[in-house]
Amino acid sequence: MFEYDSVVMSRMLTSLTLAFHIIFATIGVGVPVMISIAEFIGIKKKDPHYTLLARRWTRGFTITVAVGVVTGTAIGLQLSLLWPSFMQIAGNVISLPLFLETFAFFFEAIFLGVYLYTWDRFKNPIFHWLLSLPVIIGSTMSAFFITTVNAFMNTPQGFDLEGRVITSIEPLAAMFNPATPTKVFHVISSSYMTSAAILATITAFIILMKKGSKYHKKALKLTVVATFIFSIMTALAGDLSAKFLAEHQPEKLAAGEWHFETEEGADLILFGTINENNEVENAIRIPKALSFLAHGDFNAEVTGLEETPEEERPPLWIHYMFDLMVGIGFFTLGITFLYLVFWKVKKWNEYNPLLLWGIASIGPLSMLAIEFGWIFAEVGRQPWILRGYMKVSEGATTSPHVDWMFVLFIALYTVLAIGCITVLRKMFKNNPAELELESRYPQVAATKEDD
């Protein structure tokens, strides 16, 4: 491969674990919200279809949570194992939110256990629904806390560094650094959006394959509407994130947008390639749009990459990560909007196969957008691990065995992925919704009208 280097290997192993964990973490943050909504509608409308929906989603969720927990434990330990010097310094300043996060986990884990095993224990189902709220609070709070840590790595503050000695520490200032508000908003909204989109994908797929029943049609409406709302929130949060970058981390935005010279009324560059003279070719240019994205004003000045010293510039390929993320965001928004139009206009059929195929694609695409977004955000911070204070190469372990650990973890994640998929397939294949509806709510299943 390449010359042996524990820094490179540590980065690869960290990326591997995070890229895997983030899939399950995203589901862990968003799916409880969808479950809670479905259960609530089921109780309010006295419609067992929605209750069944919540039950079935919950059952799948137990599997993904488990993988989320074990991979989260892995990344938690790996942060110390792979980045000991970084954790030694950062631990002094940013351990508060990490510590608080464990309380959020605790809270979530306890109530998830109670929620899972108490479906039929209450006379009034609203009590069971109430139990879903602490689960949502716990998982969203854990996303909040961990995101403040990541925000801190981008815009560290709340301490003074004199040589290798840290003084004047303010834990709250470190936690609520300039990157925190936009990052938290964007991470949480994109988790909700992605989870809703994945559930929409599953439903659309079943309708396409087996001409789903009334149950599936209700599920499709719920998930697509939710995806639509959450993707508006995500786009809004993304726009705010770009404005944050323009102000506090201009080199990341400039590298992501291939914006080399500081200028007013800057164009937004979509895709394209770069030739050896650093000139952009084959791109679509939207006049002045970058100024708008960065400052909300078509004529504002946008800082170019030229103002960052050469050795502190992030790699330019993150441009594609940004474009793909934004592209997926608008595609999802478009498809879900189209569904709403088809549904409201009586003459049109919202179960048009082409539209359904579009919906079936948004789940995997959104998950890809999460991955692209993180790669953009993390690689865009290069070469820093703590922007302005510590480079990645200074933070890594010096242990010579990281390569073998990389192999070990690839094997582990392969086994977990296969296990997760096999179990989920078995779980739903052997017990389709129609059968479960009949056994749990025979009176509803008997009235088989179709609208």
């Binding site: 599997i63 949570v65 488990a66 993988v67 927990v69 074990v70 991979t71 434990t73 892995a74 938690g76 330990l77 790996q78 110390s80 194992l81 792979l82 000991p84 010097s85 954790m87 030694q88 310094i89 631990g91 002094n92 300043v93 351990s95 508060l96 990490l98 510590f99 464990t102 309380f103 986990f105 605790f106 884990a109 306890i110 109530f111 256990g113 109670v114 899972l116 095993y117 108490t118 224990r121 602490p134 840290i166 003084t167 520490i169 303010e170 834990p171 372990t397 010096t398 242990s399 073998w404 650990m405 070990l408 973890f409 582990l412 086994v415 977990l416 296990g419 179990v423 078995k426 779980m427």
Partner: protein, 337 residues
Amino acid sequence: MNYELIGITVLWIFLYGYLIVASIDFGAGFFAYYAKLTKKDHIINQLISRYLSPVWEVTNVFFVFFFVGLVGFFPDMAYYFGQSLLVPGSIAIVLLAIRGSFYAFENYGSKDNHLYMFLYGATGLLIPASLSTALTISEGGFIEETANGVQLLYGKLLTSPYSWSVVFLAVVSVLYISSMFLTYYANRAGDKPALELVRKYALFWSSPTIIASLTTFIALSQQNLEHYQRAIELWWVFGISVGFFLIAVFLIYIGKYYGWAFIAVMFQFLFAFFGYGASHLPYLLRPFVTLSSGVTNETMAISLIIAFIAGLFLLIPSLVLLMRMFLFDADYVKGKK
């Protein structure tokens, strides 16, 4: 009391909590596999999965809490342990991951899968063994700091009698604690055949536990004389621990008051664990990190302690709720819910 002492006490309490709840879980894995081999699985596996499935995530959080808190209160430990424990730490992660996913996957077929059951049983013994190396290393003599950073001396670790006696102690304690708990739980569930079986396990594993404790003590005197001497000064703490051990075994033997027997077990380990911890000080990791050299700055220490107290107000009521639903709700235990 100064901040570092409060910090280490909080962490030690959580590690103690993990020791108890995780031992129940780890040991149960071994018994489940053993029962399958000896074709007695129909007797106890139902019992085990009713209790363990709802709580394994909580068990895991105890562990996460401990290591995140350790890095928070004592960031230097992240550096020394992080540098030296890459390989054993990664192996422990993999074992924990296999085990954690077992609970999620078990209801959907893996219970009949022989390989998976074997891994479930084996990880139950290997995880305590690998985690206990962190304690062994903290005694000093197993890592060195050179210009290249900190390194673990594998040769020394693998040939040290002390390190093996700690592993042995960890494994037998797990089996002892777990069987003691299952005895209590089987009795509550009114499950006579299961009770008879696990009670036998409990009696069987009690004597190795006390023997392993003694040999570890002796090995400690060779590994780290200073620590051994401080432990001897606290002889009465270990004496109380042995007293509780005798009470527990006696109650199980006469076959009465299983609840009290398990409480005695908890006290037995509480005293032993805190005696060990207290005599370990002032070093956290000999000779690199002491309590006062490794502690974080005062501001962070105070905010962590405040966070901890606030967190307890959240956790204790929720934990009580969980226990009332699964541990002390007689109908649930009996399998009627």
